[in-house]
């Protein structure tokens, strides 16, 4: 239920503003389209008016009682006055209570009426007419915390009539929480006129909840109430159903048990869907972070322990772009992310080319030494960032189009994660296209397959090496832009990904981009499905152990290269 309150916050406010005129139009059209009925209507209206007048007199009488109670100026009498107001159904009850809670309600003992002060203006609480003249002897109604709580509850019960659906919804939620059986008739009443589907649903649930907790309700009522609750599995409903399943009546018990079973089934299914989505999201992060490594390690065979630092540099590039935009063009901060994508690619790629030219090219054929040297590079890069930007996290903003979420079959999907998934797929396809369709990709594959033959064909192998390594690092930098939206941007950002990235690449099979694709998503999904069973940390450990065992079985990964290239 909590979920229902939070989610429509923004959507329903929009719905409310569009709905209000439409209701009015419908009401007007009733008058316009059916002129023939006017005579009947007039009669009915007249009848209504007379009833209304009778009711009004009754109400004013109650209001007088309320004034008397308030004039006594004791907390217990005020409490009684609040109850009287709530049950009175007086049209001014809501503004009076609101004024009371804001300490704007005055009691004019001489005129025996209530006055609401709004700034300098004062109005008669009952009629809304402005009050002029001496009201010096009017005193503010005093409150304590208990009374404030009572006013809150009273307002909630009264605001079924609020034109704003979000307010009505909140009121229903509150009533349902309070489990006040006395509210049942009001809920029934509201159900008859309510048009908004969300509020209707909430009202139905509230009615069912109340009926089920009512000892006097008949079994048939209870069973139909349970039927209203079928398919819901939020904790509150589950509690209600569990309580109902303790019921003495066997048929109610049976119905409740069936409802619980169905709820549990649905919950399980929802959990599976949710885990799957979280898994996809994690998988997209893994794929993005390890796609670069699939080039440097997978295609070139270079163990780049500084890969994580390339990701980190990408994230810091985003931060720098954002801060620059903030000082140069504050209005364009939202586009920082878009600008950062090519920039991070260039920055990380340039650093990659520098590393390749400066260090790695002397170490080809000595993988273990490469590992140590690039580890040294990673220490230096981390420390450089720490010296420049400080050791603590920097704030990278989430642009408006990345924040928020929407509901899909009860599954809350955040835009940020969705965009990252889309972005990952696009980046992966782009990388694939570069490898398969461009001359550079062709040369890369030629050099990695047979260096000497490629050189003999006129390919500048050393340039291709540098560019390949730069490409891998650049992709890592782009991953950093995306990760800056989800993870903390700190100098050790990359460290937390390096083991995972190697695992993804090794699991997928070295030298195979599609292998990396499959392995990233399967690891991500497996991780999220293990998490609820084993806990987050144990799940991760389990994955690591499974991977270690997997590598024993298939040392070359899921999709191993075959043929002579393997031994090279």
């Amino acid at each position: 239920m909590k979920h229902d309150v939070a989610a429509p916050d923004s959507t329903d406010r929009r719905g409310a503003s569009s709905e209000r005129p439409s209701m009015t139009t419908r009401f007007l059209s009733l008058h316009v389209v059916h002129p023939a009925l006017r005579a009947t209507m007039a009669f009915v209206l007249g009848l209504l008016m007379s009833t209304l007048a009778a009711v009004t007199t009754a109400r004013s009488a109650t209001l007088d009682d309320v004034v008397k109670l308030l004039a006594a100026d004791s907390f217990s009498d005020t409490d009684a006055a609040i109850s009287a107001l709530t049950t009175s159904g007086h049209p001014a009850a809501v503004p009076i209570l609101e004024a009371m809670s804001d300490r704007r309600l005055l009691v004019d003992r001489k005129a025996n009426k209530l006055v609401i002060s709004t700034g300098a203006a004062r109005t008669d609480a009952a009629t809304g007419a402005p009050v002029t003249g001496a009201a010096d002897d009017a005193t503010v109604v005093r409150l304590n915390n208990r009374l404030r709580g009572r006013i809150e509850a009273a307002l909630a019960s009264l605001s079924f009539a609020n034109p704003d659906p979000a307010k009505r919804l909140a009121a229903v939620e509150q009533i349902a929480k309070a489990r006040n059986i006395a509210a049942l008739p009001r809920i029934e009443e509201a159900l008859k006129s309510e048009k908004n589907t969300d509020v209707r649903e909430a009202l139905t649930i509230a009615r069912a909840t109340l009926v089920l907790s009512d000892d006097k309700a008949t079994s048939t009522d209870k069973i139909s109430a349970i039927a209203d609750l079928v398919g819901r599995y939020d904790p509150d409903t589950m509690t209600t159903l569990r309580t109902a399943s303790q019921s003495a009546a066997p048929d109610v018990k049976q119905a409740a048990m069936t409802a619980i079973a169905s709820a549990e089934r649905r919950q399980q299914f929802a959990n599976v869907v949710q885990n799957f989505w979280y898994g996809l999201s994690l998988g997209s992060l893994l794929l993005l972070a390890s796609a670069g490594l699939a080039i440097t390690f997978g295609v070139m065979g270079v163990i780049n322990m500084a890969h994580g630092e390339m990701v980190m540099i990408g994230a810091y590039t985003t931060y720098v772009v954002q801060e620059t935009l903030r000082s140069v063009a504050p209005g364009a901060v939202d586009s920082a992310l878009l600008i950062s994508i090519p920039l991070a690619f260039l920055v990380a790629g340039a650093i990659g080319v520098a590393i390749e030219r400066g260090i790695i090219r002397f170490l080809y054929g000595r993988p273990l030494e490469t590992l140590l040297a690039t580890w040294g590079v990673s220490l230096i890069l981390q420390q450089a960032i720490r010296v420049w930007f400080g050791a603590s996290n920097v704030q990278v903003q989430t642009p408006s189009y990345m924040s928020g979420s929407f509901d899909l079959f009860g599954l809350s999907i955040t835009y940020g994660r969705l965009w990252i998934l889309v972005f990952t797929l696009l980046a992966f396809l782009a990388l694939l296209a570069v490898m398969k369709l461009t001359p550079l990709g062709l040369q890369m594959r030629a050099v990695t397959q047979n260096r000497r033959m490629a050189a003999a064909m006129g390919i500048r192998t050393s340039t291709v090496d540098a560019l390949t390594f730069g490409l891998g690092c650049g992709v890592a930098g782009v991953a950093g832009v995306a990760l800056s939206q989800i993870d903390n941007v700190a100098p050790n950002l990359g460290q937390s990904y390096i083991v995972d990235c190697f695992m993804v690449v090794v699991f997928g099979g070295v030298g195979n981009l599609w292998g990396t694709f499959v392995s990233a998503f399967s690891l991500g999904i497996a991780n999220k499905f293990l998490e609820p069973v084993a806990g987050a940390v144990l799940g991760k450990i389990a994955i690591l152990v499974l991977l270690i065992i997997f590598i024993q079985k298939r040392p070359r990964g899921l999709f191993a290269l075959k043929g002579r290239a393997v031994e090279a």
């Binding site: 163990i303 030494e369 140590l372 991977l547």
Partner: protein
């Protein structure tokens, strides 16, 4: 004579190393116990503990060099065995605290009382007795290495792949030991030790003894490794390192040799960790972090891979540099220096300090021999530089 036979197994460098280590240990002990604290040559006790810590690292480095330098197994997870040995010692020390803990529980260590545990987990039983704890210091790292090696080496996982899964191993252990539910003190690890074998951990005398013990352990580790690598067994190890397939085709069970060396190396690392814990006074999960294990690899690389003495020397030099760097105004630049060291050693000094010295020495002697044989009109014996 057995002594001469034994001594002949040690080259000039090894003899110098053993002599230096013995002399250094004696000197430190003498200076600490005999000299007045005001004397400029007095070594304060905290420095003795620091040196003890370095020696523990040196043992780890020698153990790693046995596996990497002689058998080509680059383990990026040796810190895990070191830490496991340390935890075994830490558990013994925790049980020795008894009622002197904050919660004064005679059985449960403080953190378990804090976590509301009612009884000692099964794996903590027996750690009150030192012989059992000592056995576990060797057994736990040994069994882990054996099982890991059994799977890895039999399925012929080699080279970088092996390095990456050893790194994953230590990373998994890091995550596991961070959990409070594991029963090893979680994030805070084990600390607040009081007694070891009835002597106060804090006492000066205990610290000196621990230092001497570590020194002896380093000596013993070196001797064992040296005897191993100069034996026929050692020749096979080297051949596995240089040409694994060829060795296998010659009929040797390569994986058995590897498993043995890996397990032995892990046990040595475990002992080093066990002596490390009482000297630094704490063991926590960060000892499992992959960065620590990689740092151990760089000690070996700096000193000289495949020299044993070099590994020990590298550990001492790098850690001495680390302490000097990280205590002064240079602290923010230590990681720059360490990173540069990694790059410099791999690019410019691939054989490490000792390896380069050995090469230089060998070249000189062979030149001298060549000159002498030239004088005697003999054909010089062809000398090949070691690969």
């Amino acid at each position: 004579m057995i002594t001469t036979a034994l001594l002949s197994r040690f080259d000039r460098g090894g003899q110098i190393f053993m002599a230096l280590l013995t002399g250094f240990t004696l000197l430190v002990v003498a200076s600490n116990t005999l000299l007045d604290p005001s004397n400029p040559f007095h070594v304060p006790t905290y420095v003795v503990a620091l040196l003890g810590k370095y020696l523990c690292y040196a043992v780890l480095a020698v153990a790693l060099d046995l596996a990497w330098g002689y058998c080509g197994i680059l383990s990026l997870g040796h810190g895990a065995f070191f830490a496991l040995g340390g935890y075994a010692m830490g558990m013994y020390l925790m049980r020795q605290i008894g009622t002197r803990g904050v919660y004064a529980n005679p059985i449960l260590p403080d953190f378990m009382v804090f976590l509301n545990w009612k009884e000692l987990p099964w794996f903590w039983h027996g750690f009150h007795s030192f012989p059992f704890a000592f056995f576990m210091m060797l057994f736990v790292p040994g069994v882990l290495a054996f099982v890991f090696g059994w799977f890895a080496f039999r399925s012929r996982v080699t080279g970088v792949y092996l390095s990456i899964i050893t790194q994953a191993l230590t990373y998994a252990l890091l995550l596991a030991f961070f959990r409070n539910d594991m029963g090893f003190g979680g994030n805070n690890g084990l600390t607040d030790f009081k007694d070891i074998l009835g002597y106060s951990v804090q006492a000066d005398g205990t610290r000196i003894v621990l230092f001497v013990l570590t020194s002896l352990l380093l000596l013993a580790t070196y001797v064992v490794c040296r005897l191993l690598v100069t034996s026929t067994f050692g020749k096979i190890l080297i051949s596995i390192r240089d040409a694994e397939s060829r060795t296998r085709f010659l009929g040797y069970k390569v994986e058995n040799y590897k498993i043995f060396v890996f397990t032995l190396s892990a046990c040595m690392a475990g002992l080093a960790g066990a002596l490390y814990v009482p000297q630094v006074g704490i063991i926590n999960p960060s000892e499992f972090s992959p960065a620590n294990s990689i740092e151990a690899v760089i000690w070996v690389a700096v000193g000289g891979r495949g020299t044993l003495t070099g590994a020990a020397l590298g550990a001492l030099v790098v850690n001495f540099l680390k302490t000097t760097f990280t205590t002064g105004f240079l602290a923010p630049y230590w990681l720059f220096a360490l990173g540069a060291l990694f790059i410099f050693v791999t690019l410019a000094l691939p054989k490490g300090i000792v390896g380069t010295l050995q090469d230089w020495h060998e070249r000189r002697t062979s030149e001298r021999k060549a000159r002498m044989s030239d004088d005697a009109f003999e054909t010089p014996a062809p000398t090949e530089a070691k690969a």
